[in-house]
Amino acid sequence: MMKIINIDKQKWAGGVESLSKSYRLFGPVKDVDCHNFKELKQGEQPDLSYGNTKLSPKSVVFPPSEAMFTYSLDESNPEHHILKDVPKDYSPRAVLGMRPCDAKAVSLVRMNFDTPEYRDPYWMDAYEATTFVGLACENPCASCFCTSTGCGPYNEEGLDVLLVDNGNAYIAKALTEKGEKLLASGGFTDAGDASAVDAKKAAAEAKITAKIETDKLSEKVIMDLYDAPFWHDVAFACINCCTCTYACPTCWCFDIQDENKGCEGVRMRNWDSCMTPLFTMHGSGHNPRDKKHQRVRQRFMHKLKYFVDKYQKGIMCVGCGRCVQQCPVNLDIRTVSKTMNDYVAKS
């Protein structure tokens, strides 16, 4: 049962204040010249007037650097060289006002961290502790193309609550039990009416004119695309920085590193990127992806073909447009997808 709640904007700030008593809150706040998701300080309000954040909120469940274990190298310590769990705070947390595209990304990424064989405890524990409160997108950016990725400005997948800005109030759709609980603990109890939503949704969707072409990707043969002649041209401009992968809400790759300070140390994981040669460098010095076009190909093949074939859930892209906007050399996933989609291997 989906509950509809009306949240008067006058009551929003007070509700956030109440929520902060039972949740660690994360929300969009203005940095110097852009918005980003941060943990809200006591009394701080999320700024819901933002267009899109520079970085995605994936860091709420997947921090750029995260401690996994600590250990001691001091041999006089009876437990030296044994990995110890790091105390973690998995008390309830909530992301306020994330975009539906970023929420869908979380549900795509979950397929990687929660598999039949293994469950990634850090990502999953954080994920399960989090209530995701979305804010429907009324004014998409010119580079947004979510409607052609199986997502959309009002998409509900991955969200516990969807807020729709309706002038003086938010229409809140509680999509899960978690969502209902959050609304209740914020003191948001006024019954609402969702009749305005469909028209608003259609209007927002109509504003999105950019598209990504993906309809023929699933029929392609991996080897044909892999051996296609266009990768050198696609990759030429790429400078192999990690901008696209760090900004991307669906990129999840990480590296594991040990850092020592004296006799104490921490095993941590850091965001990593398929754009760097180090990502695949063997201990022997051999590197199966030491050339730029190989790495660029890996990124696009992963998002647009391997993922498509592996999960049958469409592409690993939600159309947030961050990589398109931020790429220093204008490598555009929409162009690459079109090239792949249109490609016919010579027989």
């Binding site: 060289h81 293994y118 080897m223 594991i256 992806r289 391997y306």
Partner: protein, 282 residues
């Protein structure tokens, strides 16, 4: 559920120099908590992350056999940061082992079949595990004929010499040992590269015969056509691959070849499967 990133603490029980040039050492580990040995139940062909707190982890094939109890054994080539450190460690040192990881050789499916094992260099470790497993009195009768082709650069680089000699004496396994070259006049085995020797000694293919291969890329590359010539179907050729790994459990995202993750979907694949996977080097 257990944290899959957490290594079982182990103590180094013995270290043996495995080759003349000392680039390979065999490490035998004993679990600090005996119950961890049960949790680490593995099969031949799987690997583990050797975890040295303060240095990092490396994925290494398990060289001991599930039939060998009380320890787990790895033969490690000295190459990078972690392996260099490992080579300098001493008996009694504490570190970690995380696993077992990946798919094993499909030995259950190979029951009743003839098996040709082709290995070269220091990739012989998981094959050693396989041979020891199959030769175990409880298991030997479940398999058909066993042929082993093993090559090394020179006699000094041959791994597990004592065991090879012992296997030589047996009549339920055919050993074909070769070296690329040697100036040792007393060398009594083959001389020549693995593909050449394979062509000479490997049994002709039939539906009942399977090849298991593990070795350096060049050896694999040139042995594949030989097996083709002998008539081996690609479904009957089983290989083990490697790549840079971190998590070992299919999550961190770097070891893929096409859509398959070497660590979780492999490292064992049939040649038929590999035909649909890109060769990453191109």
């Amino acid at each position: 559920m257990q944290n899959p990133y957490k290594a079982y603490p182990v103590r180094i029980d013995s270290i043996d120099v495995a080759t003349e040039d000392k680039s390979l050492r065999t490490f035998t580990f004993v679990f600090l908590n005996p119950e961890d040995e049960q949790k680490f139940a593995y099969e031949s062909g799987q690997f583990a992350e050797l975890s040295i707190p303060g240095k990092g982890e490396i994925p290494i094939g398990i060289a001991s056999s599930p039939t060998e109890k009380g320890f787990v054994r790895f033969t490690v080539f000295r190459t990078g940061l972690v392996t260099n450190h490992l080579h300098n460690m001493k008996v009694g040192d504490i570190m970690g082992v995380r696993g077992p990881l990946g798919h094993p050789y499909p030995l259950k499916d190979l029951e009743g079949k003839n098996i040709v094992i082709i290995g070269a260099g220091f990739a012989f470790t998981t094959l050693r595990s396989t041979i020891v497993y199959m030769l175990n009195p409880e298991n030997r009768s479940r398999f058909g004929k066993i042929d082993v082709i093993y090559g090394a650069r020179n006699p000094g680089m041959i791994l597990y010499k004592d065991e090879l000699t012992a296997w030589e004496q047996r009549d339920d396994i055919n050993m074909h040992i070769t070296v690329d070259g040697t100036d040792d006049p007393s060398w009594k085995y083959h001389t020549g590269f693995v593909p050449t020797i394979t062509e000479k000694v490997a049994p002709q293919a039939d539906d009942n015969t399977y090849a298991i291969m593990c070795g350096p890329p060049m050896m694999l590359k040139f042995t594949k056509p030989v097996l083709d010539k002998l008539g081996y179907k690609h479904e009957n050729i089983i290989l083990s691959l490697e790549n840079r790994m971190k998590c070992g459990i299919g999550i961190c995202g770097r070891c893929n070849i096409g859509k398959e993750l070497i660590c979780k979907d492999g490292p064992v694949f049939t040649l038929a499967q590999l035909k649909h996977m890109p060769e990453e080097d191109t």
